[in-house]
């Protein structure tokens, strides 16, 4: 059965209307579904494809999420996306999907659900985490030459990706991001620096923060704000 190659998702998320991991996922996957499908419509409808097929609609993702019992706002969805995409950001073929699931040793939805904890561990390895973190940013870029993401989306993304590991910093940084007016968008360098900041700088004392070190101005301002606002 051939699907129309022009099948599109719901409105591709404009930077400002992103509000869940599912949206992220959806925007990426759905676009690919149509292309992937076209290239491989003669492909063997093996088990994996069945899984693939089962959620090749917007509702499908919800179904997938409920099947593996993961809330669609859960970061593990994003981790899944990361796992799948190794080759090219925001674009993968049916093959990669197959390979991804294969590496998770999941050919049924049930197995996929079981593989999730493994996946979490894998992501949190330091080498992988940075990569995952960077991926998360790139995943939100919708336009081709886009280099920035709006503040609100960043806040959501931060919460999702760093929230569990660096709770107090993330809360504080998010509060600052929403409060300050100087930056309306964040670029990749600032994004990566936030993770480094959480990792390297003592919180809440911030005493080992050295502004001459070359941290982005955003973080200089954040530290100044923190120091002016002792909590």
């Amino acid at each position: 059965m051939r699907r129309s190659s022009t099948r599109k998702t719901g409105t591709p998320t404009s930077a400002s209307s992103l509000n869940s991991a599912a949206d992220l996922f959806r925007s990426g996957i759905a676009l690919q579904i149509s292309i992937g499908w076209d290239n491989n419509y003669e492909a063997d409808m093996d088990k994996l494809s069945k899984v693939f097929t089962s959620f090749c609609s917007p509702e499908g993702i919800e179904n997938l999420c409920s099947d593996i019992q993961v809330d669609h706002t859960d970061v593990r969805i994003l981790m899944l996306a990361w796992k799948m995409q190794a080759a090219k950001q925001g674009y993968f073929t049916l093959d990669e999907w197959r390979q991804g699931l294969r590496s998770l040793r999941a050919d049924t939805v049930a197995k996929l659900k079981k593989a999730l904890p493994e996946l979490e561990k894998e992501v949190s390895k330091p080498g992988n985490f940075k990569d995952f973190y960077a991926y998360a940013f790139r995943y939100c870029l919708t336009e081709e030459k886009q280099k920035h993401i709006d503040i609100e989306s960043i806040c959501i993304l931060l919460e999702l990706v760093l929230g569990s590991q660096y709770r107090p910093q993330v809360d504080s940084i998010i509060e600052y991001l929403r409060y300050q007016k100087e930056y309306k968008v964040i670029n990749m360098d600032q994004w990566m620096s936030i993770q480094r900041f959480c990792d390297e700088i003592n919180f809440p004392s911030l005493e080992n923060y050295n502004p001459d070190y070359g941290w982005p101005l955003l973080l200089d301002n954040y530290v100044e704000w923190m120091r002016g606002n002792p909590c």
Partner: protein, 762 residues
């Protein structure tokens, strides 16, 4: 008689003979009467020891021979060793029996005199006896490596006289020195002679002089001046103290010249400096009513020169002085700034001319301040580097403070404009103008926002050039040359371009007139002069689509056609806001010529068609902004010359007003200029400069990274600041922002492992 036949001289026999000569000599030295030796001869002895030769002549030859014989006789009659020993004993005997007793019974100055005499005598004795016994020096002493005869003689004096007496002598000398310090007259020649003994006693080395005299003398000197200083510092003012100190140093130097050994000079002066200046340096400088600060305040140049001379002697002595100088100059400068601020905020300041005047006065005063203290640096402070630096730093501090809302860059630019324009408030001779411009350019060196100055200057220059307000071309060119010398060619290239454009414009105009005469049909019927500006050189001007009066439209068209014949590839953008018009106003009393701007002319010409016009109608017809319309109507109806009548007749133009031609207008002159005050360009200038700075920082970062490839954040920032310093002081945050932007644009990347390091991406 041959050697073999020589009669053997027995020791005692020979010695008896010798003794006669020695005794004779001793008697002469004792001043005892001797045949053939009068008291005058005695005087001669000291001056011409060879004089003794006359007296002892016969002895001299015979004694020589005797010694020779006694030394060359065959053993056991070779008496060299005995003669050597007896030579020494001769001295010992004389010293112990005659010299020391006489010295012991004398004290103080008398003792010194006696010592000098005895020493002189001793030297004579050594000289003579060693002559008598000379043969020993030649063979016996050399063979046995014994001390030579004159050394033996000296050593005797040293061991028997000097050793016992040198402390007493030293103390007596020091007492005399201190007396002289207190103002008494002393016998300097005596002291010189005494001190010569200390030097000579050491033979080749200065050790005796240093250890037995100099050390104690220096100690005493230090104690002496320490006591004096502790009194003076309490009683005397700083200038008085310094006078005393300088005098003391002079006198001590004098002392060395007259009797101390030259090698003492440096150590002596150092001791004095230490006690008088080093120890009390800060107390002296900080004395409340007479210290360095007060001297500067009261312009006591001579005292300050003295202070410089004195403090330059001690290690790092000038550092605190230059610091006080710097603070003083800074304070003076800040006071000027405050004065100007106060004047600007006072009631009178509502009048714009007064503000301008205050600014002029302020810049003038800063120039004068600079002149004054530069003179201090050159003269009182002998052109010393430390003080040049202090002056520079002081000026950098206050010259970068603005007055009211104007930055110093703007103030300087306005100042220049004032001097260079026609009808300037400053009535100065050409020379004075040149000099002033020179000084202004020097002040520019202290201003960190040089690019801001350039932009303000350029704007003012544009107005001067375009409205023909420049008083003197030579001055205009001269200041550009000076600016170029100080800040580099890039600084002035645009301005030079502007001046060039004006020169070319004259050529163009004559070609245009030729064109018109060749094409009479094209003639618009109005005299038209067009100045074509090269966009890059001139400040940017917003061009509004002014609805030109019909007459002027034709002018524009004609010129456009003409210009097409000259060049095809250039686009003309008309800037009507800068034009001037001469219009005839047919008023009832008399027709007058009005010199107005194009905007004003366009507005006035509307009244050829209508008698009365509302604000809105005027605005609609002219197609200008509210700002422009209000300003130009104000200049025609509410200012000095009321060409238009305004209803209601209030002081300011409002959007509900109506305007009417004023037929009754007149003035005693036939031709008047109706100024249109320019809009305040300050904000735009600052915006433009900020924008240029962003580009400059960008370009600089890229250039630095391109050549260095990899740099840490701090290195990059400091290199950037250093390279841009000539034009402006970049804000660190601004640099950071540009770096971030360049990262986003993929010119740079942050190193993956060392997060404080950036890498150039080719």
């Amino acid at each position: 008689m041959t050697m073999n036949e020589r009669k053997i001289i027995d020791l005692e026999q020979g010695w008896e003979y010798m003794q006669k000569g020695i005794t004779k000599l001793k008697n002469i030295l004792e001043g005892l009467p001797e045949p053939q030796f009068s008291s005058e001869d005695y005087m001669m002895l000291y001056t011409y020891p060879e004089f003794l030769l006359y007296v002892l002549f016969e002895f001299h030859l015979l004694v020589h021979r005797t010694i020779y014989n006694m030394c060359t006789q065959k053993p056991p009659h070779d008496y060299s060793q005995q003669l050597y020993d007896r030579y020494k004993e001769a001295f010992e005997e004389y010293i112990t029996s005659k010299v020391m007793p006489s010295l012991r019974e004398k004290h103080d100055e008398f003792m010194l005199r006696e010592l000098v005499k005895r020493w002189s005598n001793h030297k004579v004795m050594v000289r003579w006896l060693s002559r008598f016994f000379h043969y020993l020096d030649r063979y016996f002493i050399a063979r046995r490596s014994l001390p030579p005869l004159n050394e033996v003689g000296l050593t005797c004096f040293r061991d028997l006289v000097y050793k016992e007496i040198n402390t007493k002598v030293r103390d007596a000398v020091i007492v005399l020195i201190d007396q002289e310090r207190e103002g008494e007259q002393i016998d300097r020649a005596l002291l010189k002679n005494v001190l010569d003994i200390f030097v000579e006693i050491g033979m080749v080395s200065m050790d005796c002089y240093v250890a037995d005299f100099e050390d104690a003398m220096l100690c005493d000197t230090a104690a002496y001046y320490s006591r004096k200083a502790s009194n003076w510092i309490l009683e005397d003012s700083c200038p008085d103290y310094m006078l005393k100190a300088e005098e003391c140093l002079k006198r001590e130097k004098d002392r060395v010249t007259h009797y101390l050994h030259a090698s003492s000079e440096q150590k002596l002066l150092e001791k004095v400096q230490h006690e008088l200046l080093f120890v009390y340096a800060s107390q002296l400088l900080e004395k409340e009513h007479s210290g360095c600060h007060a001297l500067l305040r009261d312009d006591k140049r001579e005292d300050l020169s003295r202070m410089f001379r004195l403090f330059s002697r001690i290690n790092k002595g000038l550092d605190p002085v230059s610091l006080i100088f710097k603070h003083h100059v800074t304070a003076e400068g800040i006071a000027l700034v405050k004065q100007a601020e106060d004047a600007a905020s006072s009631k009178k300041a509502e009048k714009k001319d007064v503000v301008g005047l205050q600014e002029q006065v302020f810049v003038r005063k800063v120039i004068e301040l600079h002149d004054k203290y530069l003179d201090y640096v050159n003269n009182c402070f002998q052109n010393h580097n430390l003080f040049h630096k202090a002056l520079k730093e002081a000026f950098e501090i206050f010259c970068n403070k603005g007055v009211a809302s104007s930055s110093s860059a703007e103030l300087l630019a306005n100042f220049c404009d004032n001097i260079l324009k026609k009808g300037s408030s400053e009535k100065l001779s050409d020379e004075a103008i040149e000099e002033t411009l020179e000084k202004v350019v020097k002040l520019l060196a202290y201003i960190s926002d040089k690019d801001l100055f350039a932009e303000f200057y350029r704007k003012k220059l544009a107005r001067r050039l375009l409205f023909d307000k420049s008083a003197n071309d030579d001055h205009e060119r001269s200041i550009l040359t000076k600016l170029k010398q100080q800040c580099g060619g890039q600084f002035t290239s645009k301005m030079e371009g502007m001046v060039m454009d004006l020169t070319l414009a004259r050529d163009h105009q004559s070609h245009f007139e030729e064109y018109l005469s060749n094409n009479p049909n094209a003639d618009p019927g109005i005299d038209l002069a067009v100045t074509v500006l090269t966009t890059g050189y001139w400040p940017s001007y917003k061009s509004f689509d002014l609805n030109l009066p019909a007459e002027m439209i034709k002018c524009v068209e004609v010129f456009k056609e003409f210009y097409q014949t000259k060049t095809k590839h250039r686009k003309l953008t008309w800037v009507y806001s800068l034009g001037t018009c001469n219009i005839n106003g047919k008023f009832e009393p008399k027709t007058m010529e009005l010199i107005v701007t194009t905007y004003q002319a366009s507005a006035l010409l509307l009244f050829n068609a209508s008698d009365k016009l509302t604000y809105s109608e005027i605005m609609a017809q002219l197609n200008l902004t509210d700002d422009d319309v209000t300003r130009l109507l104000h200049s025609l109806s509410c200012a000095k010359y009321k060409i238009l009548n305004k209803e209601p007749n209030t002081k300011n133009v409002s959007q509900s007003d109506t305007f009417e031609f004023n037929p009754k207008f007149t003035d005693k002159l036939k031709r008047i200029k109706i100024p249109l005050p320019p809009v305040d360009e300050k904000k735009k200038v600052i915006e433009d400069v900020d924008k240029d700075r962003r580009y400059a920082i960008d370009a600089k970062i890229v250039r630095i990274m391109k050549s260095r490839k990899v740099l840490t954040h701090q290195e990059l920032v400091s290199e950037c600041v250093k390279q841009l310093e000539r034009m402006f002081k970049p804000d660190i945050k601004a640099i950071k922002k540009r770096i971030e932007d360049l990262i986003t644009r993929d010119y740079l990347e942050r190193d993956k492992d060392k997060s404080n390091t950036f890498r150039y991406l080719a």
